[in-house]
């Protein structure tokens, strides 16, 4: 994975959004300009808030995809489990940090179980079959959560309180910053893991050619299993962190996974930095569409942009065209 292309893109985006801000400011008459600026800033903050959530969910997709070419549609359920288990342990009197840690552990175990019981026995099946297995697992997990937990919405306290940070007439909640920072941190850790460790190399080898990887002595089953476990852990961390913003319930995973998947497609599947960029962009598109057009078109605009990107650059914004190594 290369950070460079990701960072270059972020830089260019920042500079182009500054330009856009200027233009939008000019669009309004001079008296209204400060208000318009504050509005623009608020839309940006809103986009970053939503985008950070999408990004954090999206990052979870990349590792499993890299190791096994499977798009894991149960990723949203990992996010749900992270949030819900923390909430219910909290109700049972467990202190929040411990509850979050246990939630991550439980979700990791669920991820591992999904691999052992669902994916591993079907190792000869096609990728599409595997994807369908993950959809089944997602429905199953949702059903179990509905019975074990309940059907209501729940929330968690934000890490740094809920007093908004005010900047230039707009405001953002500290938790949004936490989520965005965590997404970036997780991406850096993930990149370091893939690039700097032997296990990371093994993941790359497994994804490139499983047969060859087995021949050089890599236990590919362990590697793919580990990827499911780590992805589940990332999902659970995302669940704990985004719950103060999005709230959580047994069926919150479906939509998060859908938006996260859209973010992954936008950024370029299999690229962790791409997932973050895609998530943030998707959030920004939605916020600006809601702000400058109408909230009713918000989702449509986001998906139109994704379609356009996929037509123009099928590999995603940050992804590289696949080169078949012979």
């Amino acid at each position: 994975m290369d950070y460079d292309s990701g960072f270059r893109l972020v830089n260019s985006l920042v500079s182009s959004s500054n330009g856009l801000a200027h233009q939008v400011g000019v669009l309004f008459d001079r008296r209204r300009a400060p208000a318009a600026m504050a509005e623009f800033l608020q839309f940006t903050f809103s986009g970053l808030t939503v985008g950070a959530v999408y990004a954090l969910v999206a990052v979870g997709f990349t590792l499993i995809y890299n190791a096994s070419d499977v798009v894991n549609f149960a990723q949203g359920e990992f996010v749900m489990l992270g949030g819900m288990v923390t909430v219910f342990l909290g109700y049972a009197g467990v202190p929040m940090p411990l509850a979050a840690a246990i939630a991550v552990l439980i979700t990791t175990a669920v991820g591992l179980a999904l691999y052992r019981l669902g994916i591993a026995p079907a190792h000869d099946a096609s990728t599409v079959t595997m994807i369908i297995i993950t959809i089944g697992a997602s429905i199953f997990l949702r059903g179990v959560a509905e019975i074990i937990f309940d059907k209501r919405f729940h929330s968690l306290p934000a890490l740094f309180g809920s007093d908004p940070i005010r900047v230039g007439g707009a405001s953002i909640l500290p938790q949004s910053v936490v989520v965005l920072a965590s997404a970036l941190l997780i991406v850096c850790l993930l990149c370091a893991f893939i690039d700097r460790t032997l296990y990371g190399k093994a993941v790359i080898a497994t994804s490139a050619n499983r047969m060859a990887a087995t021949l050089v002595g890599i236990n590919t089953r362990t590697i793919v299993g580990a990827c499911f476990a780590i992805s589940a852990a990332i999902g659970a961390v995302a669940g704990v962190l985004v719950t103060p913003i999005t709230l959580t319930s047994y069926n919150v995973g479906t939509l998060l996974a859908l938006k996260g998947f859209a973010a992954v497609m936008l950024g370029g599947i299999g690229n962790a930095m791409g997932a973050v960029v895609g998530g943030v962009l998707l959030g920004l598109f939605e916020a600006f569409a809601a702000g400058y057009l109408s909230a009713s078109y918000k989702d449509a605009v986001a998906f139109v942009v994704i379609l356009a990107v996929l037509f123009a650059m099928p590999q995603g914004l940050v992804g590289k065209t696949t080169v078949e190594r012979v």
């Binding site: 504050a38 903050f45 939503v50 919405f153 405001s171 939509l255 916020a287 909230a295």
Partner: protein, 385 residues
């Protein structure tokens, strides 16, 4: 001689066990509820309530010497399934009356079945379309969203806030309430100067709210929604430091809303049924003994906090039982006429007085206007009038 009597008694016992399993005759009451699926938080307390009170009625000897047998089907929130079950209730179970229909969708799907079969049908769903136009055999117990709009507008006018912005969810509840609010606003003397929407699963509504904030002349904001959306609207509202009063709908009238919105909920006003206040109602309130009684029974039996939805089922069943007592039988025609003649029934939802043109029978006094203060409700006394 003795032998003959025992044989006769045995035969009678056999005969009744074939028809119903108990010594007295049984009357079947049907219910099609969304006890599972997306509307289960409505259907689940409804089912528990019906089970609980039918058992209670039977243990007290039933109605007119007849015991009730509740036949419940779970439609999972699916209107097609609801219609199938309704047909089964009519053709196979041969029910005397029906209490149920958790959602507006399932209710509307079942109306033709009961209209054709000429069996009284008391729905537990919200929308005003169920009783407007009036169907001869169809009644309902919950308040309508139009009443919620009127109640909110009443309070706005009392506070001399007549220019408002409306933000609504794009789900069925939000859309329906938005339409009703727009329809009754001119008559109430309220101008809706700006309108916004949000998707039911959105996690940030600040773009919509900042546009409301930027619209000149707005004096208050009304949010028509249901589920977690209104909680996020409330949080974002405080995040942006918007100063106008915020009104929510009866769709969020539960303690859950307060816990989700947290401190941001302070000062939010909303219309709600008396059941939410229960013990806090003044002793002079006609509904107090009913709602406190229902609350205690439900919470003791299930261990769950009471909800207005279960209350709707309670009202439906009791209206039916009262009508059956007055009619002296479960003859469907007489039963229907007596349900329509319900007068001054004090239930959890309000005081019900039906008429041939009003198959709901509630007026605005059924709603109380509440303000959220420090994690609890307080009643706005003016609105009690």
């Amino acid at each position: 001689m003795l032998k003959k009597i025992t044989i006769a008694a045995g035969l009678i016992g056999l005969a009744t066990s074939v028809t119903g399993g108990s010594a007295t005759a049984q009357v079947k009451v049907g219910a099609v509820l969304s006890a599972s699926g997306p509307a289960s938080f409505l259907g689940d307390p409804e089912r528990k309530t019906l089970d609980m009170y039918v058992e209670d009625i039977n243990s007290k000897g039933g109605i007119n010497g007849q015991k009730l047998q509740l036949v419940v089907y779970d439609d999972g929130g699916d209107a097609n399934a609801a219609r199938t079950f309704a047909t089964r209730l009519v053709e196979e179970d041969k029910i005397a009356a029906m209490v149920g229909g958790t959602t507006t969708g399932t209710t509307l799907a079942m109306i033709p079945v009961f209209e054709d079969a000429q069996i009284p049908f008391i729905s537990l769903a919200g929308a005003v379309q169920i009783i407007e136009p009036v169907h001869k055999w169809v009644f309902k117990t919950p308040h309508t969203d139009r009443m919620a709009c009127e109640k909110v507008f009443d309070d706005l006018k009392r506070r001399k806030l007549t220019t408002v912005a409306l933000i609504s969810g794009t789900d069925a509840f939000g859309k329906s309430m938005r339409d009703q609010c727009l329809a009754v606003a001119p008559k109430a003397g309220i101008t809706i100067a700006h309108e916004e929407t949000y998707g039911p699963a959105d996690s940030d509504m600040t773009p919509q709210l900042i546009k409301i904030k930027a619209t000149p002349g707005i004096q208050a904001v009304v949010c028509a929604g249901f589920g977690q959306g209104p909680a996020i609207v409330t949080r974002n509202y405080r995040q942006l430091g918007i100063e106008y009063p915020l009104y929510q709908s009866h769709g969020v009238a539960s303690k859950q809303f307060i816990s989700l919105a947290g401190a941001a909920a302070n000062g939010v006003r909303l219309p709600a049924a008396a059941l939410l206040l229960a013990n806090k109602l003044p002793d002079s309130d006609r509904q107090k003994s009913v709602v406190v009684g229902y609350q205690n029974t439900f919470e003791n039996k299930t261990g769950q906090p009471v909800s207005t939805f279960g209350g709707h089922a309670y009202d439906g069943l009791m209206i039916l039982v009262d009508a059956a007592k007055r009619a002296g039988s479960f003859d469907s025609g007489k039963l229907r006429d007596e349900i329509e003649r319900t007068k001054g029934y004090v239930g959890t939802g309000g005081v019900v007085t039906m008429s041939p043109s009003d198959h709901l029978g509630l007026d605005l006094s059924a709603f109380r206007l509440l303000e959220i203060k420090d994690g609890d409700w307080i009643m706005i006394p003016d609105s009690a009038s």
